[in-house]
């Protein structure tokens, strides 16, 4: 029995098999985003779907991230061709209404879609309580490192992205995060201008 050969063989096989066994636990499609924790990229986008009172904004108005400084922002990317977006639509509308009057802004950003079908989709889904904006050439989506829709970014009072939710958002999850972000009292720090524009 040539032990040297056997050992060389095992020395090669064991680490490789071990590596594979270890890697079985990870999901290759789950790519972590580098954005949470960083300053939220700024944006100024035009409203195409006004939403409903009391959260409505007029069509053609510009929603700027800088204007919402010091408050909590929930930025949701969606599209009318996105099947999973249907799952979260009612949820987000309801949750947004819950926070009406509080220092929380819900904004929908349309991704790779046209406003015509998008508006029809909103009507078909029974209306959206908060305004949605257009994102031509998906510049803002790319700025937020979007992989697909739906994705929701929760931005705290300090202008940093606190959390990114990939896939349909869950009511309990969103309210939990928004509540904890609201609880962080506005400080002098948050009065500084929003960064993110390079």
């Amino acid at each position: 029995m040539n032990w040297r050969r056997a050992l060389i063989g095992a020395a090669f096989v064991v680490p490789v098999v071990g590596l594979f066994a270890f890697s079985m636990r990870f999901d290759p499609r789950d790519i972590p985003s580098p954005l949470p924790g960083t300053v939220a990229p700024t944006f100024a986008l035009e409203v195409f779907a006004p939403g409903q009172p009391p959260l409505a904004r007029p069509v053609g108005d510009t929603i700027r991230l800088a204007d919402m400084r010091g408050q909590v922002v929930v930025l949701n990317f969606w599209a009318s061709w996105c099947l999973a977006c249907r799952d979260e639509h009612a949820t987000l509308s309801a949750v947004a209404r819950q926070y009406a009057g509080k220092e929380v802004h819900f904004v929908g950003s349309l991704y790779q879609d046209r406003t015509g079908p998008a508006t029809e989709w909103i009507t078909e889904m029974g209306g959206q309580s908060y305004p949605s904006v257009q994102d031509p050439k998906a510049r803002v989506a790319i700025d937020y490192g979007l992989y697909g829709v739906p994705e929701t970014y929760l931005i705290g009072r300090d202008g940093r992205i606190a959390r990114k939710i990939t896939g349909p958002a869950d009511a309990a999850q969103v309210t939990h995060i928004v509540d904890s972000l609201l609880a962080i009292a506005p400080t002098a720090k948050t009065a500084a201008p929003v960064g993110g524009s390079q």
Partner: protein, 667 residues
């Protein structure tokens, strides 16, 4: 009913296989060798049972029996019959069933074709093949069971993945791939069997396997080319190879199998490289299982990946057993694997084969490391990284060019040794071909370092391989006074292995030229057009006539009718790139349209369109010499066919070897 038959048959096969596996060592040790027929009988029984399971599955698919879990997963009433049948191998469980069936068929063929020439080798080889069948049978009754009862029975199913319904090549690629993959189990079984039976010192196992190995290699080559062609025609990016993990998975065993094919010649003639050849054939087999593991464990995301949970661990366990088992075997039997021969000179074909082994193995490890590297990076750094085209292209190009070089020099150099004069006579004349091809390449516009080198070496190899045919043909003409054509045919027929190999070399050269030209000389343009407007790319003018839409049974289709204009502005033909919208899927699946001519392809892809039909955005790519890749694939397969065609038994292989050695000396 189908569930019962299918699952039942597979369950029943287990004891049969187990019996066969255990019978062999027991019987051989006790000297009751006539009882090895138990194992052969087990192989036949297994084939019948797995065939019954496959028949049950096909019946279930065609009759839309959604009580069968696999059918509920991939079947749909809207899918045309053809695609329904081929969805047998479209998803995980079905593909494992198909693998098991091909393996059982091969085992039966091996047993049948080798009856009467058994010795101690065949029983052990059968045992190994049955042991592999055992693994797949366990999978099929366990984690990969396609025959679960679904209750309540759904009325309809989601249908196969839309990408799998777009093209006829989807019918062809997987069976070819499995025929090749599973085929590699056979030389592996014989190699291990040779060590187990104590016959590793002889070359019998190589001889018995030669046709088989070449044929499996041919299937694998065809499968890879078919996969490339499918990718090119269906995926809409105008490319044919993206170094996707599953493409790499099919390519890795091909590399070691190619090395093995060449390296065994050294073992046959010089008795050397025994251990190395055992490693190569084991590596080839393990890589086929590894490739299956990578695409079925969900560990790496790829075009092909089937998502699943525990089945990956089974594969991993099997790989570990095979590797450790073979190494243990090798460690315990080093005697039979010692080299008995020697090299006469460094300037010989043997040396070229050694270098061939080196570069093919290095190539294999490069692709392997690149493919699994994301796993390594994640395990070590916790960060996800990508390893894609730019990495692989950069790292493998030098090796590919080196291999093209060897393909030219190898056939030119004789076995054993060459004198200075012989080397001059054999190595210098093909330079003419090299310079000629280089000139043509430069004229076509090739400028890069690797592109020009590739053309040069391809030209050299074409001339060198062609010269072998020429010299042999002339020799025959002088000896027998035959017509050139007859002499050529008789030449090839008289030594199929050698000349089949040279034909396959030509196939590779066509592929190499096609790949070099289409990547270096590719040009593309994208334009947004209204009907009546046109644009051109690389001298081809295309005009949009109209944008249309239609409903089909399982999908909605939007297309753009484009007209190809000749120099005078007249319509030379129409092309219709399309987008297919499937109800179950968010993103549309593009169907590009390709106009092929011997010198290149015009490739059109519909990027987007206005719903009112008033315009469309079309991308046009001009790819020179792409059809040469598919043509080369055909030549490779033809060469493999010729090379694997069994010689007449009377002459036997020894005479053939001596005969070709004489021809080598004479040439």
């Amino acid at each position: 009913m189908n569930n019962l038959v299918g699952h039942g048959a597979l369950l029943v096969s287990l004891p049969f296989i187990l019996l066969g596996v255990l019978a062999v060592p027991v019987v051989m040790k006790r000297g009751r060798e006539e009882l090895v027929t138990i194992a052969y009988g087990a192989a036949y029984a297994n084939f019948l049972l797995v065939s019954a399971a496959v028949a049950a599955m096909i019946t279930a698919l065609v009759t839309h029996d959604f009580s069968v879990s696999y059918v509920a997963q991939v079947g749909s009433r809207a899918t045309p019959l053809f695609y329904t049948v081929i969805s047998l191998w479209g998803a995980l469980e079905g593909s494992i069933l198909f693998w098991a069936w091909v393996l059982s068929l091969y085992t039966v063929l091996v047993v049948t074709l080798n009856r009467g020439r058994e010795g101690r080798l065949l029983p052990y080889a059968t045992m190994i093949l049955l042991a592999i069948s055992l693994f797949f049978a366990i999978l099929l009754v366990g984690p990969a069971n396609p025959f679960h009862l679904v209750f309540p029975v759904p009325l309809d199913g989601p249908g196969p993945n839309p990408l799998l319904q777009n093209h006829i090549l989807m019918a062809v690629h997987p069976p070819l791939l499995y025929l090749g993959y599973v085929g590699m189990s056979v030389p592996f079984a014989f190699a291990v069997g040779a060590v187990l039976s104590g016959e590793a010192g002889s070359n019998d196992w190589i001889r018995l396997n030669r046709s088989w190995t070449v044929a499996s290699w041919g299937f694998l080559s065809a499968a890879i080319i078919a996969g490339m062609w499918w990718s090119y025609e269906v995926l809409g990016w105008g490319g044919y190879w993206a170094w996707d993990p599953v493409e790499n998975a099919s390519f890795l065993p091909w590399l070691t199998a190619t090395a093995f094919l060449h390296s065994v010649m050294v073992q046959e003639r010089r008795g050397m490289l025994r251990l190395w050849n055992l490693n190569l054939v084991t590596g080839t087999f393990v890589l086929t299982i590894l490739g299956t593991f990578l695409t079925r464990s969900g560990i790496i995301s790829s075009v092909h990946a089937f998502t699943t949970g525990t089945i990956g661990y089974y594969f991993l366990g099997f790989i570990a057993i095979v590797l450790l088992g073979t190494m243990g075997l090798v460690a315990g039997n080093s005697q039979g694997l010692r080299s008995t021969g020697r090299l006469d000179s460094a300037a010989s074909r043997e040396t070229i084969f050694l270098l061939n082994n080196l570069f093919l193995t290095a190539f294999m490890f490069t692709v392997l490391v690149g493919t699994i590297f994301p796993l390594v990076a994640e395990a070590v750094r916790g960060v996800k990284v990508s390893v894609g085209g730019p990495f692989f292209d950069r790292m493998t190009l030098p090796m590919i060019v080196a291999l093209l070089f060897l393909m030219g020099v190898g056939p030119a150099l004789p076995w054993k040794s060459a004198t200075r004069e012989e080397m001059r006579d054999k190595l210098l004349p093909p330079l003419v071909g090299a310079v000629l091809f280089l000139a043509v390449g430069l004229a076509m516009g090739i400028r890069g370092f690797y592109g020009t080198l590739a053309f040069f070496f391809v030209g050299y190899a074409a001339a060198a391989n062609g010269r072998e045919f020429w010299i042999g043909m002339r020799a025959r003409q002088q000896a027998h006074g035959e017509w050139a054509g007859i002499a050529l045919l008789r030449l090839i027929g008289g030594n199929r292995r050698r000349y089949g190999g040279y034909i396959a070399h030509f196939g590779i050269l066509f592929v190499a030229l096609g790949i070099t030209a289409s990547s270096s000389l590719r040009s593309e343009r994208e334009a947004t057009l209204k009907p009546g407007e046109s644009f051109s790319v690389a001298g081809n003018t295309i005009r949009l006539r109209q944008v249309w839409g239609r409903e089909e049974r399982q999908r909605s289709v939007v297309g753009a009718t484009m007209e190809r204009l000749d120099r005078n502005g007249r319509v030379a033909g129409t092309m219709e790139p399309r987008m297919n919208f499937y109800p179950g899927s968010e993103q549309p699946v593009p169907t590009p349209d390709v106009h092929s001519s011997p010198l290149g392809d015009l490739y059109l892809n519909l990027m987007s369109f206005r719903p009112d039909g008033s315009g469309a955005t079309v991308k046009a790519i001009h790819e020179p010499l792409v059809p040469w890749i598919w043509f080369g694939g055909g030549v490779i397969v033809f060469g493999a066919l010729v090379g694997s065609w069994p010689g007449s038994r009377k002459r036997g292989v020894v005479e053939g070897t001596i005969g070709s050695a004489r021809r080598d000396a004479a040439a």
